[in-house]
Symmetry: C3
């Protein structure tokens, strides 16, 4: 299976340079090119591989096209075009519509047209599965869950009762959506569970990574807006709100009732304290901790870079005495001031 360069151009809204009839059957890197595959040049660091590439064609900007000796697709955003081309050349292995005989589907559930329910999945009472939804093996879809058209649960995903997922979402294995929030009232030293009565509502085109967990709200709902992308191993606590098209990298923890804006980026290992707001368009770099609201978009950080341990230990010891150092510096300034 394959498409000609011309067909790819037409379907991705790009221009061909060179032989539009070239048949392309796959994608490849610039360094490890194949004659029947197309590569891309997005990161300038890889420009050095362009002249020698063995790829059949390359996706690049018009500005880079003059240095390209093989056929090309000209795009203002080569990486976006690459994503589209790759999706065309490698369509998802289409799951067969229908219900596997080993699936356990409650009689009171509704299964949309074209949906595929894999082996050993469980659909509980009152669940509504949209058209063309794919539920992979081992998934559990709880009571009254609603899943929009075209959404896929890959395998071993758990959706707790009442959770709502939009259309065209992609949920990776081990993800848990709608687990109880960590709501506890302290009753004379013992923790009393506070019933978690809200749910989780997730928009369209959301991707949720492997082993990520999203808790249901305490009273109102946890909200994940359209186009949000969550990586693996993320914890989203109860009543968090994440705005549209925000991307969150792996191992991030977001505490209860934090409200993350739209178009934000949280890098790996970031922690967000509860009950604060982060402005639209904010970027937080790796392993930083957001402890108060960010009202102005920008880049925020508190992560530290690893250094040779003997040097770091000296720094860490000095750091413990930093308040003392600051006082001594002030004292010197005062003494010198007196001398003037």
């Amino acid at each position: 299976m394959g498409l000609t360069l011309g067909e790819l151009a037409e379907r991705t809204g790009t221009q061909v340079q060179g032989n539009a009839g070239l048949m392309i059957s796959g994608v490849c890197t610039l360094q490890e090119g194949r004659a029947d595959a197309i590569s891309f040049l997005a990161n300038p660091q890889y420009r050095k591989y362009l002249s020698g590439t063995q790829a059949g064609a390359v996706i690049l900007t018009a500005g880079d096209a003059k240095d390209c000796s093989v056929p090309a697709l000209l795009s203002n955003n080569p990486y976006v075009t690459y994503a589209r081309v790759a999706a065309l050349l490698y369509p998802l292995n289409d799951s067969v519509a229908g219900i596997h005989p080993s699936a356990v589907v409650a009689t009171g559930s509704r299964i949309g047209h074209g949906a595929s329910l894999g082996p050993l999945c469980v659909i509980e009472e009152g669940a509504q599965i949209g058209a063309d939804v794919v539920i992979g093996p081992g998934c559990v879809v709880g009571r009254d869950v609603v899943i929009g058209a075209g959404t896929r649960l890959v395998a071993n995903v758990t959706l707790c009762h009442g959770v709502q997922l939009g259309a065209r979402c992609l949920i990776h294995p081990g993800a848990v959506i709608g687990s109880d929030g960590f709501g506890l009232a302290n009753d004379q030293g013992h923790w009393l569970k506070v019933p978690q009565l809200g749910s989780v509502r997730i928009g369209d085109d959301v991707e949720i990574g492997a082993n990520t967990s999203i808790d249901r709200g305490a009273l109102e709902d946890t909200l994940i807006a359209d186009g949000v992308k969550l990586d693996n191993q993320i914890q989203v606590a109860h009543n968090v709100q994440i705005g549209a098209h925000t991307a969150v990298a792996g191992c991030v923890g977001i505490s209860g009732s934090a409200k993350i804006g739209a178009h934000c980026m949280l890098a790996g290992g970031v922690g967000v304290v509860g009950h604060l707001e982060i402005a639209d368009g904010t970027v937080v770099t790796g392993m930083s901790m957001v402890t108060k609201s960010i009202t102005k978009s920008g880049v925020y950080s508190s992560g530290l870079s690893a250094q040779p341990n003997d040097q770091w230990n000296k720094i860490a010891v000095r750091l413990r005495h930093l308040d003392d150092m600051a006082r001594r510096l002030q004292a010197l300034e005062r003494r010198l001031g007196d001398k003037d």
Copy 2:
């Protein structure tokens, strides 16, 4: 379904102010009140919403009662009373006792009276399931596991062989209890697995969050005492001990053989080094790392707050030279001392 304010007062040991016959059928926030629902005022920040609330009734302290124009429940601890009221008004959806036909139950296991075994769960040889236990869909209960009365495994929980759970525990989806500890012996550069021969023993009234993992002990058992509450995405290594009524927030990692006291609180993202002890009642704030024993209860920290990236970068550069700065400060002090 509902209860009168008077019935709620009686069942929670609180006092009614106003119409004890008022029928309450749910809970709500102060801001988004409903006439048939009860709210609560625990956090002083929400006091401003009290006068205008549309809630049918409010749970609050006697001190706040004079400002409340709707019926009220007077409580010394409104949040605890709220938790009790919510549990009364929203009883858990009662799972039907019995074994789902798709469950795989080993003949040598014992299933208590009133237990509910959901679809596609697995109960292995020698497991003992207490009375009224609920095993949700997709859970795996290993050989010789013992589960106390009234405990619930929500869905897709894994209990490895020999694990013991107390009564009334609540285990959320994706939790893994009794996986092998990370025990390795270095044999000339290759890692040799050290068999993990202990188990995990968990007390009563313990809650364990989604995708949290608790490893079995190497020789002796990993121990989680009564009333411990663990949030999502937590790692508890082999031979850890966690004392009664300690609460651990999301994304915490506790290394092997660490001994956490009772009534501690570890905030999100905290790391605890192995083979140390933390005193009862200790609080560790977010993303801090505990590297040595804490013998005196108190609040401990090493987390840093995110700042604008350009400011943070300057700080990080200076930090790398902190040892040098300290030496230069000492040199100045010596010189000025010489001048005196």
Copy 3:
């Protein structure tokens, strides 16, 4: 069941001191010894327990042997010998070869001799399961997965399509291997998914902990070499390479295309930024962040130790003004220089 001390010596290549006919049926700690069990002395901190031990025998070095009043195995590496002895005395509960009737096995898969497929596991089309492989309950083995001889998936493990596992691997519950990498192209503010077309290739003798996730490569494969040991709750992003015999502790996050050398050790909570290299034999201490390539093996750190909160708060405030402090120190140095 048991073995004599002489038999254990023969099978582990060690020397007996004392009664070689002593029957040993288990292992124990030095402190809580049992007459029919063998203990070990590897950590000098435990030497104080040697003289009073109730253990039937002890594994220790020839140097410690003179202080040992019970029979002993003399070893250059007592912990390695202990690991071997424990494996001999506690063989894994042998799973019965064969396919449980509730397992769902695609007709187009190949199941090796002696393999054991547990209850409610799913084996999809084209999968190749090696000899003596154990697939525990609830595991999902995707299309075209290849599993080498003797590998074990404990329970509820997910292997996505096309993943390759070597021989004698051990994969703990909740682990996900081959989930999509976090590949996104920004199309005018919206994230477009970049198809993840690579796979994951894992060598022999690899152990992967509970709820750990390893993403498939974007174009080429994510690679985990022979003998790598990954603890629980780890995130390995797409196109990461981990060299042979490297050990990674819990809660570590490794970003895309990072290349970790062989024989490295990453402690708990470490973060590794993407597209960098770490030299063979490198050690990174707890909760450090590696932000650039490490070309020289050694120990690297950036983690901070928790301190009493009031002290820490003072330090954190001073730290925010560190750049200012450095400037003021320079100013003082200049003034004093001027005075000389």
